[in-house]
């Protein structure tokens, strides 16, 4: 047998070479083998068949080549026999638009001719809106037990290839579909096995046996839909080309297809608006060298411009951009002498909030003074040189104008003298910048200014004596801001410290995930304890929509950060002034309850995870100062998952590339269904690692099992998480796991040392009461910690019932000992009632409708609120903020146990209101919702002064 096997291998090698040389191979091989090898008659009879098989697999020929564009579709037919089901519409690139049910039907003979033998399909496809069932090309029936044929398509976020042998066998991609991105798919049936490749890489293979079961009822070959006798799920996207081969494609061919795929950047670009009508685009690329941009108001780009490039970093300034328009752009680079193009990106100038610059040479009529040096010193006292500057008491407006010239401050002059006001206003009006950069606000008395306090980033006066008291001046200042009293050429600076306010610098408050950053709000427990300090942008046009459960805003050191639709913004927490912003195509991450956020902050920096790396941005200016990368081997295969900072450490994790969800269109992307497997699938990390965040030195890495992102928690010098150590799950190489065994099989609670990454303790997680490997499910699971304990809160559904429980587990921070566990029943199984992130206020932990006394380890025995509608709750000193009856943001005092609410004020469907920086900050996250006349604006509330 061994001899025969060796001979077989020899035959294969020789045959392979012969087949490459000649098409008349079957006969040639027979003769050759007969001469070389004395074999039994059985072996001789097998050889021809073997050689046929070998020869067939090595000479795949194209039998159908379908390009779905204007040139190849005429009179609503593709290549004269494929019939379009809707009138053809083409996009700006000439490709057939698959939408509103469009699909193409070929007579069944087209598929029957090749489907009984080995065949290969190569398809270049794009899914714009993933859905539960989808098809690119198929010849199938999938009706209950009657499963026949084959189909290349997708299920939700994964590409699939199905072929029937007894029933439909399914293989799928590990990497998720990125909506709107092109992919080259290769599906092969080699007579025994089906295989699926995505962009040249093998996704999965499965043996199914000889000959696919074909339907014996009328069945079309269908392009652009998952279609059979009683099902029709048409594609929303594009198909550029489908080629069908009459045999198996070889590996060399497949590799070439991988190389042909679109040029991949290591990180996507970002766009900063620098002035009205102007923007700066910067990007990193995988390959160093020159690069250029093509851009315009349509995808037929009107302008191509080379970038300024240094190694892998490129930038370009764009001017004369029209207001309120979407611009499309594409980047190019050169790899091995070949020009490569990026996907098409876009940015929108409707959210260009950059202020106009005042020319340096502009002076007020009649002004003889030169305040440029003085203004420079004053402006330099503020790191970001932006926000609100109050000039209390004017002389002629010259200093105020000079401050506006040398900064991005909005300068508001406060003055009492009407005559002086009239003359200076006229002068300032004539500059063309009155109202937009500088204005005068008339007051009747300096004793009690009619201006809300805490809003100014800089206060000065043009007069030698500040007309208001020092106390009044301090009251007007925002924390960490300066009041400057002039004395001729010199000045005195008074600073207002930041006392007793806190930062919301991670998704749920701090990295400890208690949804409470410790902000006191001066004891506010009802809406009338808070008053609006600022209101305005960003508004409805900034975000994606309220539903996809996006990362929470952050606030640190007086700056508020907020994410929108592929964009982010930084505002002053105390006056809402926009400091800087970016359009970032690769920023988007959604369904955060089953994942982790993509950003965190410290006092001076913002850290954002983008694809396989993290950016460190200067908080004052937005300038990127550092890039933390995954290891070389991980890049391309993995993305940066979890991100947090604690002390000197930046903590990250790796997830399989494409694991984070980004789709947002349609009700399925509200992720609310308690038993929706796609919605509740957890994004998992394959390892955790740490950097020194100041010098980017790598500190440690840990990787044992699959770390559940939503449970990763840092408190003090401990990192906690739940980790599954089942080899089956790990080997599955799936970045999103909906399998119950994630929670039921070999689950551990783990504690690492923050500084060394070493395991401090690890404990098997208790068996779940309601969830088994095959029944019920875990809609959400979270980790949070206090100084003494790590808490895991697992929401469990009950099989066959429309209800479930929150189950709570308390582990000793020191030893990992399970101290207690308990449970409370869901209030409802929808609108987030079943997936609430816990909030810790004092010694109570709240979910919905009730919570736990952490000291006793027992349910509280009373409900709060009630909570209603989607959104997560958050806490401050004595207060719970949540979405209550009528859907408005509601306030519940822990001690008073009474509810108040703000009418028509709606948060996002996850977390968009944060008590921090001495304020309740609510950047808009609710726009798009059709269930009420919501305000769709951002606000900052401050405690009422009298409290």
């Amino acid at each position: 047998m061994a001899h025969t096997a060796n001979n077989f291998r020899t035959i294969c090698r020789i045959s392979h070479k012969l087949c490459n040389l000649s098409t008349i191979y079957p006969v040639a091989i027979l003769k050759f083998n007969a001469t070389l090898l004395p074999m039994s008659r059985l072996r001789y009879s097998l050889l021809p068949m073997l050689c046929m098989l070998l020869s067939n697999s090595l000479s795949a020929k194209i039998i159908h080549d379908w390009t779905l564009d204007k040139q190849h579709i005429k009179d609503n037919k593709l290549e004269e026999i494929g019939v379009l089901k809707k009138p053809a519409k083409f996009d700006s690139e000439g490709l057939l638009i698959f939408s509103d049910g469009q699909q193409i039907h070929f007579p069944e003979e087209t598929a029957k001719a090749f489907s009984s033998k080995p065949f290969s399909i190569v398809a270049k496809v794009r899914v714009d809106k993933p859905q539960a069932w989808g098809g690119f090309v198929g010849f199938t029936q999938d009706n209950g037990n009657y499963e026949k044929g084959w189909i290349l398509g997708y299920n939700n976020s994964n590409y699939t290839f199905k072929a029937a042998k007894g029933s439909l066998k399914i293989i799928s991609s590990k990497k998720s579909i990125s909506a709107g991105q092109w992919a080259t798919l290769i599906a092969i049936y080699d007579g025994d096995k089906i295989s699926l490749y995505v962009d040249g890489k093998l996704a999965q293979s499965q043996q199914i046996g000889n000959k696919i079961d074909l339907a014996d009822i009328p069945t079309n070959l269908v392009i652009g839909a998952y279609r059979d006798k009683d099902e029709n799920f048409p594609l929303e996207g594009r198909i550029q080309n489908i080629k069908i081969y009459n045999n198996v494609l070889d590996q060399e061919f497949i590799k070439k297809k991988a190389d042909d795929s679109i040029y991949k950047f290591a990180v996507r670009p970002k766009v900063a608006f620098t002035a009205p009508g102007e923007a700066k685009l910067t990007w990193e690329s995988t390959h160093s060298g020159t690069s250029s941009i093509a851009y315009g108001l349509t995808k037929k780009f009107t302008t191509i411009t080379p970038a300024t490039s240094t190694d892998n970093f490129h930038s370009i300034n764009l001017k004369n951009l029209e207001t309120g328009k979407t611009y499309f752009y594409r980047l190019s680079g050169t790899v091995d002498g070949k020009r490569k193009l990026s996907p098409i990106y876009e940015f929108n100038t409707s959210v260009n909030y950059a202020s106009s610059s005042i020319p340096k040479e502009l002076k007020l009529a009649g002004s003889k003074s030169d305040y440029s040096k003085l203004a420079s010193k004053l402006v330099g006292l503020n790191k970001q040189k932006a926000g609100i500057c109050l000039v209390v008491g004017i002389k002629d407006g010259s200093l105020a104008l000079e401050i506006a010239k040398q900064s991005k401050f909005k300068v508001i002059c406060i003055e009492k003298d009407q005559k002086l006001i009239d003359s200076v206003r006229v002068n300032l009006y004539q500059t063309g910048f009155y109202g937009s950069r500088i204005s005068i606000f008339k007051v009747y008395s300096y004793k009690k200014l009619p201006i809300t306090t805490g809003i100014a980033n800089l206060i000065t006066s043009e007069q030698t004596k500040l007309p208001i008291s020092l106390k009044a001046g301090y009251a007007l200042l925002a924390p960490n801001s300066k009041l400057v009293i002039l004395d001729g050429e010199t000045f005195t600076v008074k600073s207002k410290k930041n006392n007793n306010t806190t930062d919301w610098n991670h998704q749920y408050g701090t990295a400890a995930n208690t949804s409470n950053a410790g902000e006191s709000l001066k004891g506010a427990t009802a809406t009338n304890d808070l008053q609006v300090q600022w209101i305005g942008r960003p508004g409805g046009d900034f975000g994606i929509d309220r539903q996809p459960r996006m990362p929470a805003p952050l606030a640190s050191n007086g700056r508020l950060y907020h994410q929108g639709h592929n964009r982010m913004i930084c505002l002053d927490s105390h006056n809402g002034q926009i400091l800087w912003s970016y359009e970032i195509p690769d920023l988007r991450r959604i369904n955060i309850p089953r994942d982790c956020s993509n950003w965190c902050a410290d006092k001076d920096h913002l850290y954002i995870a983008i694809k396989d790396r993290a950016w460190k941005l200067n908080a004052a200016t937005g300038e990127q100062t550092e890039t933390f990368k995954l290891t070389d081997s991980a890049r391309g295969e993995y993305d940066w998952g979890y991100i947090a900072n604690s002390g000197d450490y930046l903590i990250g994790s790796s997830v399989l590339a494409g694991s984070h969800l980004t789709e947002f269109w349609g009700s399925q992307n509200w992720f609310d269904g308690a038993t929706d497997r796609r919605a509740i699938a957890q994004v998992i990390s394959y390892n955790l690692f740490a950097y020194n965040k100041h010098n980017s030195a790598s500190k440690w890495a840990y990787g044992k099992g699959l770390i559940i992102n939503s449970t990763i928690t840092i408190e003090g010098e401990n990192i906690y998480f739940l980790e599954n150590r089942s080899p089956d799950l790990k080997n599955g190489e799936n970045g999103r796991i909906s399998d119950n065994s994630l929670w039921t099989d070999k689950l551990y609670a783990v504690c690492l040392d923050l500084k060394s990454g070493k395991v401090k303790w690890e404990k098997p997680f208790p068996k779940l009461e309601y969830v088994t490997a095959t029944q019920a499910g875990v809609p959400a699971g979270y980790g949070l910690a206090t100084k003494d304990s790590f808490y895991a809160v697992i929401s469990q559904s009950i099989a066959g019932k429309n209800t479930g429980y929150y189950t709570y587990y308390s582990f000793s921070a020191k030893s990992g000992k399970l101290e207690w566990d308990t449970k409370t029943q869901w209030r409802a199984s929808h609108h987030g009632a079943h997936i609430q992130h816990p909030v810790i206020i004092q010694d109570h932990l709240y979910t919905d409708p009730s919570g736990i006394d952490l000291k006793k380890g027992k349910p509280l025995g009373y409900n709060y609120g009630p909570r209603a509608a989607c959104a997560a709750a958050v806490g401050s000193g004595d207060t719970l903020f949540y979405r209550g009856l009528g859907g408005a943001i509601s306030v519940w005092g822990i001690d008073e146990k009474e509810v108040t609410f703000w009418k028509r004020l709606r948060p996002s469907c996850w977390l968009s209101y944060i008590p921090s920086n001495g304020m309740l900050l609510i950047p808009d996250g609710g726009a798009g919702c059709s269930c009420g006349g919501w305000m769709e604006t951002s606000l900052g509330f401050a405690p009422v002064r009298s409290k």
């Binding site: 937009s436 600022w534 919702c929 059709s930 006349g933 769709e936």
Partner: protein, 460 residues
Amino acid sequence: MNHFIKKSLSVSCIGLAITNTCLAQWTTYRADNRRSGTTAQTIKLPLTKSWNHQGGIPQQAWTGPAKWDTYAKNAGLQSMRNFDPCYYTTIADGKLYYGSSSDNAVHCFDINSGKELWTFFTNSAVRFPPSLANNRAFFGSDDGHAYAVDTTNGNLIWKVNAAPTTQNIINNGKLISTHPVRTGVTLVGDQAIFAGSLLPWEDSYLHAVTQKSGKSTYVKKAHGKEEKVRGYNQAHTGVTLQGAILTDNKHLYIPQGRAAALKFDVKSGNTLGNMGHAGGVFCILTEDSQLIAGPSSQKNRNDQISLTDQKGRSIAAFNNANRAVIYKGQAFMHINGSLKGLDYTTYSSLSAKRADTIVAANKIKKTNKPKYDQLMAEVKGLDTEIKACSMWETPAAAIAELIVAGDHLICGFDGKVEIYDTKSGKSLWSAPIEGIAHGLSVSDGHLVVSTNKGEIISFK
């Protein structure tokens, strides 16, 4: 013709001509207190550009709307609060006025020369042009005050605080009152009416003061008699009054932006309920005091104007239309890529009859087939008649504004302004502009165009 009226219409309520009570001038926002956008004044064609003024980019009160409702898969949402996309103008006695959301001032120009005559600054944004009467200009500001200034020199006559306090907060880099006046000032009889309003969880205040002194109550002397005229300062809870006030001198109708407009008694300022689904800030009050408004909400089709009766019942909707103007029994609106002229009186009457017939037919569908068939045949006949109500139709891009001046339908587009004959729909004149023509006004033979780029252009 689109059969876009869904429910029954009362002939007596709709379709009567709307005429401008002040023929020679354009003295308030959109010509009159019904915001009809119509005037009997004519302009002589062809027009040539007379002068222009750049006022700085308008700083709108609110940002644009959400791009879409992804849950409901509803895209192309429209703003329901864009009452200040440009500097609308009012014109009287040879002078043009506008309020600026950028430089916080009201400006007065000579309509013929374009020379700026005076500027009156407030402490914050002015979002509507002043209403003009008796040599006075009346307007509101985000600083929480209503003002009356002398039109001859811009001197202040009076100002009234619309807010319960004098407190100011920050709004997009400006200090604004907690109760900015974003309704403009509407003149009714001897009174000036305005509201200070911002947040639905704070009370809003509806004011009526005398035009002469700004006082709430005064003694009116006429024909030897004295009469105490009482104004009011009415607090209202849970409302957001924004957009120009409309009135038929009996009632006030005040838009709320992202909620339905509200109806008030003009004498007392008491609320009389909301106007059905009449959301948005584009509003016209017909002669029969029915409110045309839109867009109503994001739940329905995005481009939609609704018609609400005096009882607040939503009685019709015009799909695929976001602007309309009605003049002397004719309606003009932009629908599905075409500008259309319609015999509104006949159309509405027939449509009401059609709707009633369908209701009657459906009642007997199962019990009396012959009668049902007869009624449906009548419906078919009515359809033919309804189709005949279309006067004309001409392809046109999406419209930003339309008004009527005499026999001219004047339309503002992105990049141009164009005039059509109201009877035939024939294009009579057009001129290119930069930006979107959101504001149009006609007076003294001038057509004044206001754009989203802050430009004001006079054609004569």
